[in-house]
Structures are given as structure tokens and as C-alpha cells.
């Protein structure tokens, strides 16, 4: 693979570049912006406490730009973080404004560094935890718990989970009533298609789509919505079949249709 990332090659080692590629190709593999920032911070190869947040912000913003160039859809939280880092960057670069009451750039940067260090620490703690001797893998419980079947007493057991699930079941049972569709107030697309096919022969001129709504369906809002949706869908279908043309002046303006001139 030849550097699809477009990252500057000059002072990057092969492993840096591979890491950068992994970033771009596998953006879904990250558990959010903080995870990504932590990964980026490793390229600085310094203690997390001495990390340059300014440099990190630039790395992140570069990453987001590259992702845009490559048309990778970034989730909203990545973009929120980018905006925040851009703000942080400007705070770090500009001389502090004595009028400003808010926290200084350094304070914000220190907090971000703290968050990264804490996340990293928790990851290491998790790894240490999982590396411990574990029951059923490294050490074992009694294989043959003993029961002298002389006195039999029945005890009833239930876990908290049982209790909560039972309560949840009771409190939500109304939500699970059988699905019954109210057909009286639904105008189907098939009905709309039938109706429009019958009328379209007479529509040589542009006519407002709303005039195709069936009679008696405009008074009740639910019925009107259903009929409008069905009629609109039917008109799209007819346009697709090349039978009519659609026109709309601007967003949310009324839609007009006419028979396609032959």
C-alpha cells in the first residue's frame, strides 16, 4: 500500500506511517475522540505529563482534515472535539485577554493532558487486572462441592437481576400489546397510485400536488398526513416511470406536477 494518507513523509518512520494509515483506514475502530487523541499522543514519544497539547491539537486537526479529503464520515463527536481543539489552539497561541473571565488556555490544556493520562492509566490498570491469575483459568474452585443428603431444606433464591427484570417486565407490558394497524386512517401508496393514474391524463398544465388529495382526507390531520405522504410517494413513482414531471420553486414551496409532454 502506498501512503494513501498523504501525510508528510519526510521525518516519519515506517511505523509512524503505518500507525497513521491505521488511523485513516480504521477510524471506526476508535472509541471516540479521546481514544484517538491518546493514540496520536504516542507519536510524540514523550511522557504523557510532558506532552505538547498544542502539537496534539494540530495533529488532531490535521487528522480531521485528512479524513475530510478522503471523504471519511466522521461522527459528530469527532467534529465537536475538533472545534474545541481549534478553540484551545487559539487560546494557547494568543496572548491572554485580561478581560476574559474564563479558564486560560494552559488550564484547559492541562485538563486535556490529565484526561489522557487518566485514560491511559485506566487502560494499563485494566491490562494488569486481566493479566492476573484468574479463576477457572489459572486457579480453580472445588470441583466436587459436597452435600451430605441427610437434611433437605428448600431455599428459594432470586437475584437482584431477576427482581429488576420482573419489575421491568410488569411496567412495560403495556408497550408490548399486539401490533394492530389502524387502516381506517391510512391512505396507501397503491391507492394513491390508482387515483393519480386516473387523473394524470387530464393534467397537461402544472397543478399543485395537494389538489390530488382524495376527498374527505384533509379535515383530520392524521388522515391528511397519510394521504399527503402517499400521494407524494406515488408522484415520485410516476415521475420515475416517466409519466409525469415534478417542479418545486424552492425548499418547502408547494410541489406541482404535470403529465410529461409526449
Amino acid at each position: 500500500m502506498s501512503d494513501p494518507t498523504g501525510f508528510e513523509e519526510d521525518h516519519q518512520t515506517v511505523s509512524d506511517r503505518l500507525a497513521a494509515e491505521a488511523l485513516i483506514v480504521d477510524v471506526d475502530g476508535f472509541e471516540g475522540p479521546l481514544d484517538l487523541l491518546l493514540m496520536l499522543s504516542r507519536t510524540q514519544k514523550v511522557d504523557l505529563r510532558k506532552i505538547s497539547v498544542l502539537q496534539l491539537a494540530e495533529q488532531y486537526l490535521t487528522f480531521v482534515d485528512k479524513a475530510k479529503v478522503l471523504r471519511i464520515e466522521l461522527a459528530a463527536d469527532y467534529l465537536v472535539m475538533a472545534a474545541w481543539l481549534a478553540f484551545l489552539k487559539s487560546r494557547l497561541l494568543l496572548p491572554p485577554d485580561p478581560q476574559d473571565e474564563g479558564p486560560s488556555g494552559e488550564e484547559l490544556a492541562a485538563h486535556l493532558a490529565f484526561q489522557l493520562e487518566r485514560l491511559q492509566a485506566m487502560r494499563e490498570a485494566a491490562a494488569q487486572l486481566m493479566a492476573r491469575d484468574q479463576m477457572g483459568r489459572d486457579f480453580f474452585v472445588r470441583g466436587l462441592p459436597e452435600g451430605v443428603a441427610r437434611i433437605r431444606r428448600v431455599t428459594y433464591s432470586a437475584t437482584l437481576l431477576d427482581l429488576m427484570q420482573a419489575y421491568a417486565r410488569i411496567r412495560t407490558k403495556d408497550e408490548f400489546r399486539p401490533y394492530a394497524f389502524d387502516r381506517d386512517h391510512v391512505f396507501t401508496m397503491e391507492q394513491a397510485l390508482d387515483r393519480m393514474r386516473g387523473l394524470i391524463g387530464f393534467a397537461g398544465e402544472w397543478t399543485d400536488l395537494s389538489s390530488y388529495l382524495p376527498d374527505g382526507w384533509s379535515a383530520d390531520p392524521a388522515r391528511r398526513r397519510s394521504a399527503t405522504a402517499a400521494t407524494f410517494a406515488a408522484s415520485l413513482e410516476l415521475a420515475k416511470q416517466g409519466q409525469i414531471e415534478l417542479r418545486q420553486g424552492e425548499t418547502f414551496a408547494p410541489i406541482s406536477i404535470r403529465r410529461k409532454p409526449t
Binding site: 431444606r153 428459594y156 429488576m164 420482573a166 419489575y167 421491568a168 410488569i170 408497550e175
Partner: protein, 215 residues
């Protein structure tokens, strides 16, 4: 010590007898069924002599609270027969609580104090006498104050024993519906047609519940 170390070592000599004794001890302890000498040998490093290790192990447990005993042609660790009287707790038969009982208990826990009529209203079905009796017998519920309403019905509340059994410090620590949902314990399929209705009603439910506990 890693497995490969162990194997390499066994090319030269079997582990010391003290080590073999430890191995037999651990295997007998963890196995669900008695283990034959052949099975022991198959699981231990090459050159080991489980039969000899068993002799030492057996002697070591002589007069102890557990013994190494022969069952058919296999070996097992068992508690000493003279201590059988201590094992009463192990003879207890565990049964899951019936659905009716657990639902009734859940309603009392979340809505306490609750009358029988209230429980029936929430469950939408009559509560049998046996269900309440069973919960009383388990000492998970007890009678609370009588309601000052016509008929002065008795109420039920949960007990300290209930809290202990379920690892709760107080009934207030029971999670609410929203939290049950967040934890994935509640399917959050929305009502067909009525968009969002389910979620809106949630808020009120919780309010009701905290009111209940806010005294």
C-alpha cells in the same frame, strides 16, 4: 514456571516428590469426579509417579478435616466422616422463586408500602395467598402499617433480610426504569404509532417512585 519449562525439565527428571504431591492435591481438589492413577499420570509431567505421591498425600491428610479416599479405582478428597454434621448447609436445595412471587416481591420493593389490591392492580392479575405466604416465610416481606382507607387494608414492606439477600443498602438503591433501560435490562421498543410516548411516560414513573422514597 511456564509449561515448556516444565516439559523440558521432564526430559531429564521428574519433578521432586514434594512437587508431585502438590500436583495430585490440586488435581483431586479441582476435579468434579474421582481421578484414577492413570488419569493423574496423564496430566502430570513425564516420569511422575502419582501412585507414590498419593501415598504421601494420604498420610499428610491423616486425621485432618478432609481425607484422600479411594472410590472404586479412583481417588478423591472428601470431608472427614466425623465432621458430616457441619455439612448441613450444603444439603440445602436451591429453587428459583416463581415468576408470580418475584413479580410480587418486585412490586412491594418498588412501591412499598403496598396493599394486596395495589399489587393486583399493577400485575393485572390476582395474587394468590400462597405467594404472599411464601414471601413472608422467606422473611423477605413483612406486614407494614395498615392503610387509613376504608377497610384499613394491611400493607407489605420489604425486610432487612431482603436487602441483605439482594445486596442492597436500602430500597432506595433500586434502579429506576430509566436506569434499567440504560443498563439494557429493558427492551426499549417504542410503541407502534405513538412516537416517544413510552419515554415521556417514563419521567412520570420515576417521579412517582422517588416521591415514594422521599419521605
Amino acid at each position: 514456571m511456564t509449561e515448556t519449562d516444565e516439559k523440558e525439565q521432564s526430559l531429564f527428571e521428574a519433578p521432586p516428590m514434594g512437587e508431585q504431591e502438590r500436583m495430585v492435591e490440586a488435581i483431586l481438589f479441582a476435579s468434579a469426579d474421582p481421578v484414577t492413577v492413570a488419569e493423574l499420570a496423564a496430566r502430570m509431567p513425564h516420569g511422575a509417579d502419582p501412585a507414590e505421591a498419593l501415598v504421601y498425600l494420604r498420610k499428610r491428610y491423616d486425621g485432618r478435616g478432609v481425607h484422600v479416599v479411594k472410590v472404586g479405582d479412583a481417588w478423591a478428597i472428601r470431608t472427614a466422616p466425623d465432621l458430616g454434621f457441619l455439612m448441613q448447609k450444603e444439603t440445602v436445595e436451591q429453587k428459583k422463586l416463581s415468576r408470580a412471587a418475584i413479580e410480587t416481591l418486585a412490586i412491594i420493593a418498588y412501591h412499598q408500602p403496598a396493599t394486596r389490591a395495589e399489587i393486583e392492580e399493577i400485575r393485572g392479575v390476582a395474587v394468590s395467598r400462597g405467594t404472599i405466604d411464601q414471601l413472608l416465610e422467606l422473611e423477605w416481606i413483612r406486614f407494614g402499617r395498615r392503610r387509613m382507607t376504608p377497610g384499613r387494608p394491611v400493607t407489605f414492606v420489604v425486610t432487612q433480610g431482603f436487602l441483605d439477600h439482594f445486596g442492597l443498602e436500602s430500597a432506595r438503591d433500586l434502579p429506576g426504569l430509566k436506569e434499567l433501560r440504560a443498563a439494557g435490562l429493558l427492551d426499549s421498543r417504542p410503541l407502534p404509532g405513538g412516537q416517544g410516548a413510552g419515554d415521556e411516560e417514563e419521567g412520570e414513573d420515576l417521579a412517582g417512585q422517588s416521591e415514594l422514597f422521599e419521605d
